[in-house]
């Protein structure tokens, strides 16, 4: 149950328990100490009182002046003394050496000359103690199962023991003082708790918070794509901070890995599609050529009636359409051609200008290229495809940007257009054949570009950035 609890509660709860235990332990220790002090206080008081009284009583006892002795033992009970101290003696007795009562502060209860044992069970116990310890010293008798503490002091005159002074203190006499003290201690504890508990909860929550966030973030891995995992993690150099940093690094690596995987999957898929398409095209091309030859021969030498000619023409057109499509699919990069040069760029510009004007778009032309040993017709095909796509994608009065750069190792074609970005869902199937994004396209333009670039050993990628879409083809230049 507790094990499954969130750290958000577990840490503050543990802190609370610790604080409670500590405060109760300290309070208990203080209270225990106060009880002890109180008792020592009482004993010191009592011994002082008993010492003075025993000394004062000597002449009265020697003269058998009972009234005087009574006045002495009664003094502590005068009204003035009563209000001064809560540690008030309950009874003061003088007992003679035979343990009979000589005089007592409460003469009604302790009849003169009666044995101490007649005064009740506690006094019988006390008498037993007095018999056992007849030392000539003052002592405090803390007898078990009695309601009083007894301080006994011998009354001695010139080494002769005249009797014993007994002062009894009710144990409950110091209860009020003790209760007062305990009450104060409890209030102090509550105040401390009142201050510490919220602090403990605050700190506990702060401590648990990064852990809880980390756990929440970790929990989202697998369920959500790493790209969407934006975790607001605690940053510091402590352990949790380190874990957070490592986690972020891991998340970043995971993102890279996933995008790599996606790229690989897309490339493999395109390669498979390309291979399949090429073999199908070859398989179709061979019988197609035969069929077209046959139709041509028949048309030319077959003495056909009008109906047959019409049918053959229909068949031929259909087969030619199939041939066109198959030819388009069957991108052959091994065509031999002259090298690509600046004059090709001029041709391309001339070719797309009508489309640019129709769209009232603005063309930005940034071409810094010499002659490169790459097939002019292939590069022209790529550029024209990409530029026409860009012009069609840009809104009216939009912008189209063409940059062609080269160095000794590669040719970079960079075509951008302003306008709506390509949706994420289309991005992953962009270079597949027959993927139409416009009503007037055949869905093969980008496929062809991809096939050419790939066959030339280069890469092509699309990216949405800000309010424009860019295609970049990087083609290595054979050395």
């Amino acid at each position: 149950m507790f094990r499954d609890l969130s750290f958000r509660y577990k840490i503050p709860l543990r802190g609370t328990v610790l604080i409670l235990i500590t405060s109760f332990a300290i309070t208990a220790a203080l209270i225990f100490r106060a009880y002890d002090d109180l008792k020592q206080d009482l004993i010191a008081n009592a011994e002082g009182l008993a010492g003075v009284m025993a000394h004062t009583l000597v002449p009265a006892i020697l003269k058998d002046d009972i009234w005087h002795a009574f006045e002495i033992v009664r003094t502590p009970f005068s009204a003035a003394a009563l209000t001064r101290s809560s540690l008030q003696a309950q009874n003061i007795l003088i007992i003679n050496n035979d343990n009979n009562i000589y005089v007592a502060s409460d003469p009604e209860r302790f009849q003169m000359h009666s044995p101490l044992t007649t005064a009740g069970a506690e006094f019988a116990l006390l008498e037993q103690q007095l018999r056992q310890n007849s030392d000539a010293t003052s002592q405090v008798l803390d007898l078990p199962q009695t309601e009083h503490l007894y301080v006994t002091t011998p009354i001695i005159s010139d080494k002769v023991r005249l009797g014993t002074l007994v002062i009894s203190y009710p144990r409950e006499g110091f209860t009020p003082r003790f209760v007062r003290f305990a009450g104060r201690a409890a209030i102090a504890t509550l105040i401390v708790l009142g201050a510490l508990l919220p602090l403990s909860w605050y700190w506990g929550t702060r401590l648990a918070d990064p852990l809880v966030k980390l756990a929440g973030c970790l929990g989202r891995i697998g369920r959500e794509s790493p790209d969407n995992l934006h975790c607001d993690l605690y940053e510091s150099k402590d352990e949790i901070g380190q874990v957070g940093t490592r986690f972020k690094a891991m998340l970043h690596e995971l993102q890279i890995k996933q995008s790599l995987e996606q790229q690989v999957i897309a490339t493999e898929r395109l390669a498979a599609v390309g291979q399949l398409t090429a073999s199908i095209a070859h398989e179709i091309n061979n019988p197609l050529g035969g069929m077209l030859n046959t139709i041509s021969t028949q048309k030319r030498y077959g003495h056909n009636d009008a109906m047959t000619d019409k049918t053959l023409a229909l068949l031929e057109r259909g087969l030619l359409q199939i041939k066109d499509t198959v030819s388009a699919l069957l991108v052959e990069a091994r065509q031999s051609s002259r090298d690509f040069g600046p004059e090709d760029m001029d041709d391309i510009r001339t070719l797309i200008t009508p489309d640019i004007q129709r769209q009232q778009a603005k063309l930005k032309w940034d071409v810094r290229v010499g002659t490169v040993p790459l097939s002019a017709s292939l590069i022209r095909q790529i550029l024209i495809n990409l530029l026409l796509n860009a012009v069609k994608a840009t809104p009216s009065r939009g912008r189209v940007f063409c940059r062609v750069t080269t160095d000794t190792r590669k040719l970079v074609l960079h075509i951008c257009n302003s306008g709506e970005p390509i949706p994420e869902k289309q991005m992953s199937h962009l270079f597949e054949p027959f993927v139409h994004y416009r009503a007037d396209g055949n869905g093969l333009g980008l496929w062809v570009c991809y096939q050419i670039v790939t066959q030339l050993g280069g890469t092509i990628e699309a990216a949405n950035r800000d309010d424009e879409t860019c295609f970049t083809a990087t083609i290595p230049i054979p050395s």
Binding site: D65, W67, P107, E108, M112
Partner: protein
């Protein structure tokens, strides 16, 4: 210019006047001993009484007190005191050497009674003999009401007062005896009726815890007496001042606080009863 006769008169007058003043200031004070026949702890009352006497005697007055009658009697006989307010018993014992100065009037008469008191919770005691084997408090061995009376009563009934009680003790005064009974220290005591009545008036919380069982017949009230060396003049002067208190409006509040009506010259014969009792039991000097 003064003539001779006028001059002589003037000198005589000034001399007399100055002499009077000197006498008032330098004369030895009149020393008066007081015993616990009344509430001796009422210090402010004693001061006021002293001031009254000083004003009327025109000389300093000193009150001296002691816890025992014996001290006062001894000092009086040894001439360390001039006057003393003592009990009837020491008076009759030493009357050959003492002069009666004045006797207080209590409830209109120079007489008082001895009361037998017991704690209020003791409802069974009806006579002194019911207190057999109990603790009994005596006010003072030289007290009539607090010592002689109960012993005489017991002896008259053929009882030995020394063995009749379980324990007896002296309390140095009637007030303490009353208190000893009220707190239960003593099971009973015989006390001066005047003191008990005064306490009933001024300290009812103490007398409330006691019950008066019997009241004795009347005896001569404790008198104020002069010692052997006091001149007849001073004695009569003191007697006049005391006797005058009854009719002096300025002494009214003092007498009220003393719980007395005034003073009378007194008659030595009024103490004959006490003398007879003392003689009968032969207990002039007895300390248990």
């Amino acid at each position: 210019m003064l003539n001779r006769r006028q001059l002589l008169l003037y000198i005589a007058a000034t001399t007399l006047a100055s002499h009077r003043m000197v006498r008032a200031d330098e004369q030895a004070p009149v020393r008066i001993g007081i015993t616990p026949v009344f509430q001796t702890e009422r210090t402010s009352l004693i001061r006021d009484w002293r001031d009254y006497l000083e004003r009327h005697l025109e000389r300093p007055v000193q009150f001296e007190q002691s816890n025992t009658y014996r001290d006062i009697i001894n000092n009086l006989l040894a001439r360390r005191l001039d006057f003393a307010w003592i009990c009837g018993l020491p008076y009759v014992t030493n009357r050959s050497r003492l002069q009666l100065t004045a006797v207080p009037l209590f409830q209109g008469k120079p007489l008082y009674r001895s009361y037998l008191i017991v704690p209020i919770r003791d409802t069974a005691t009806n006579t002194l003999t019911d207190l057999r084997d109990r603790v009994f408090a005596y006010a003072d061995p030289d007290s009539n009401s607090g010592f002689l009376v109960p012993r005489f009563q017991l002896i008259q009934q053929g009882i030995d007062p020394d063995t009749f009680f379980r324990k007896t003790f002296f309390t140095s005064g009637h007030r303490n005896a009353i208190e000893a009974v009220s707190v239960g220290l003593a099971g009973g005591a015989h006390v001066d009726g005047y003191v008990w009545e005064s306490m009933q008036r001024f300290n009812p919380e103490i007398t409330r815890a006691t019950r008066v069982v019997t009241r004795s017949r009347e005896f001569g009230f404790p008198p104020l007496v002069a010692g052997p060396t006091v001149s007849a003049t001073l004695n009569s002067q003191m007697g006049d001042v005391l006797l005058g208190m009854g009719s002096d409006p300025t002494a009214a509040s003092l007498l009220d606080r003393l719980n007395l009506d005034g003073f009378t010259s007194g008659d030595p014969a009024a103490y004959e009863d006490i003398a007879e009792m003392a003689h009968t039991i032969g207990a002039f000097r007895h300390v248990p």
